[in-house]
């Protein structure tokens, strides 16, 4: 008998959009803030990684070794573990351990090394002569990074952003477990804890459609930037 009561907890379908939509916007707010920070910081680290490697503009074995180690450590921890492990740091930065602002900190920290590695890989795909082309064309390191490395690898970088964006949407759902808000929180709170199947189904469909659209746009954009 008690099972029936629980199973009848489904939110009526008509009310689903009014619950999903605010949560969906929260998800995008989180992911948006995180992506800006990740692209900026992860991008700089990725560029430095590539250029301190043997193929780069300022090859430096020590610098590469240190950055490489840090990026590996950052990528070693599963997101859930990282999130829990850095709670004191999150509290120190944001003053809280729950909610959107608290989710942004671990998401950014997890996203940066991931994106840095993607950027390094994108730059590694460039023909090996590209740095030499920049140098014999009289470019400064900054000019070469901007006009040769980044512009030439733009299609790969767009793919990297797409991949990272999808990972961050996924992380935002995991961050729902610490009450981060957003669609993941909704799924945990209603779908999991209250057995509200309607919410569960609606969040799953929303996430699938979102990822499909993000990937589609990312692929289209990346292809349109190629001139091969």
């Amino acid at each position: 008998m008690s099972n029936d009561i629980v199973l009848n907890n489904n939110t009526p379908w008509a009310e689903i959009p009014s619950m999903i939509l605010p949560a969906y916007l929260e998800t995008w707010t989180m992911v948006g803030i995180v992506m800006i920070l990740v692209i900026l910081i992860g991008g700089v680290i990725g560029i430095t990684l590539f250029n301190s490697s043997e193929r780069g503009l300022f090859a430096n074995t020590k610098l590469y070794g240190v950055l490489n180690g840090i990026v590996n450590i950052g990528r070693s921890l599963p997101f859930l573990v990282l999130m829990a492990a850095i709670i004191p740091f999150t509290k120190w930065v944001t003053g809280t351990t729950i909610g959107i602002s608290a989710a942004v900190v671990p998401m950014t920290i997890a996203g940066i090394p991931f994106f840095a590695r993607l950027v390094e890989n994108a730059l590694n795909e460039l023909p090996i002569e590209m740095s030499a082309v920049g140098r014999v064309s009289g470019g400064t390191s900054l000019q070469i990074i901007q006009h040769v490395q980044l512009k030439e690898s733009l299609p790969s970088l767009v793919s990297a952003v797409t991949l990272n964006l999808i990972a961050m949407i996924e992380y935002s759902a995991i961050a729902g477990t610490i009450g981060a808000g957003g669609i993941g929180y909704l799924a945990i709170l209603y779908g999991y804890q209250r057995f509200d199947h309607h919410i569960m189904i609606a969040t799953i469909i929303t996430l699938i459609v979102t990822i499909q659209i993000v990937q589609f746009i990312g692929n289209r954009l990346s292809t349109s930037l190629k001139h091969a």
């Binding site: 023909p127 002569e129 590209m130 030499a132 082309v133 920049g134 140098r135 014999v136 064309s137 009289g138 470019g139 400064t140 000019q143 006009h147 040769v148 512009k151 030439e152 733009l154 299609p155 930037l225 190629k226 001139h227 091969a228």
Partner: protein, 343 residues
């Protein structure tokens, strides 16, 4: 104009010690000349090319470009000096996301040239390489030869004094190769540029090089004027630049002479006919290679005549050949190995 003195380059090896890739390289690149640097793969050619284009610092020795010592410059000074040297890459190495015109514009953009001047200069450069009609094409829309011409235009953008072409024709079809070689000779003849040609293709050396240096295991083993080396029977590279075709065994009782001549030394082109008339005997041609080098006809020919005739007219033959500045050696009829006789 570009002197390379006692250049050495070593790389540290992972297991300790070092690889001595270039050993005491001495070269003098002259103005308005095409200097070919040839050698088998692994001889240090590409390292030398990197040192000459200032992409790699030599371990020791000096590079002097028009009186300016290029070693021990700061990174910024090096960047400025590099503008005097244009580099053409083997793969053309164009930026795929830039059009032909935008690729040529890259060095000018780096230098901070204003937009309308960039456009004028790019138009001029593309016209020079005969690609004005392809200005807005992306590299993927150009043939290999066209891509390489864009690469040359880019190398010329900053008005360098030297252009280094690193295997610039490897992998191109024969027609494209010819158009690139023609372009390189135009750079020499019309713009007065020095061209350094890093190559393994002897055809290329024979067709356009003025000077050649042979690199083997990091050392220069032969160098000099291409024509001089071809005419020198002791030069290994001369033999490679103008190889002799396989020689048929001369008839029994015949003497074979291996002859090297060039119109550069006023040898008449009809010397075989003249010699035949002179001897009253039709001379046989066993083998011959005749090419144009540096605008002169250069030939390597093996002729044969009856031993009796040779012995009786030896003095006349020698005098006649020497008067035409023809070098000759008697070939051993069994071995065809040259026995040095006269020069």
């Amino acid at each position: 104009m570009y002197q390379i003195k006692n250049l050495n380059k070593s790389y540290p090896l992972k297991g300790g010690g070092e690889a001595h890739v270039l050993k005491n390289i001495n070269l003098n690149i002259e103005k308005a000349k095409i200097t070919a640097i040839v050698g088998p793969s692994g001889s240090g050619k590409s390292t030398l090319s990197k040192c000459l284009s200032l992409l790699e610092q030599p371990s020791s020795g000096s590079l002097i470009l028009e009186g300016v010592e290029l070693n021990h410059l700061s990174a910024e000074e090096l960047r400025l000096q590099r503008q005097k040297i244009g580099l053409v890459f083997q793969s053309s190495a164009l930026l795929k996301r830039r059009t032909a015109a935008e690729n040529v514009a890259l060095p000018l953009e780096f230098l901070g040239v204003v937009e309308h001047q960039i456009q004028a200069r790019v138009a001029y450069l593309l016209e020079n390489v005969k690609l004005s009609d392809r200005a807005n094409h992306y590299p993927a829309q150009l043939s290999g030869g066209q891509q390489q011409r864009v690469g040359i235009a880019r190398a010329l953008a900053l008005q360098p004094q030297i252009v280094i072409a690193d295997e610039a024709t490897s992998g191109l079809d024969p027609d494209s190769t010819q158009s690139i070689l023609k372009l390189l000779t135009e750079l020499r003849d019309e713009l007065g540029l020095s061209v350094i040609l890093i190559t393994h293709e002897m055809d290329v050396v024979r067709q356009i090089a003025d000077e050649v240096a042979v690199l083997e295991q990091g050392k220069i083993v032969e160098q000099g004027d291409v024509l001089d080396l071809v005419l020198n029977p002791n030069s290994k590279i001369g033999e490679k630049i103008l190889p002799m075709q396989p020689i048929h065994q001369p008839q029994n009782g015949d003497v074979a002479l291996r002859v090297t001549y060039s119109t550069a030394k006023q040898t008449p082109l009809n010397w075989i006919g003249l010699l035949s008339i002179n001897l009253g005997h039709a001379i046989k041609i066993q083998a011959s290679t005749i090419e144009i080098i540096q605008g002169h006809t250069v030939g390597k020919v093996v002729i044969s005549l009856p031993e009796q005739l040779y012995t009786s007219k030896q003095k006349t033959i020698k005098q006649q050949l020497q008067a035409w500045n023809i070098q000759f050696q008697i070939l051993n009829s069994l071995q065809i190995s040259p026995q040095h006789h006269a020069a």
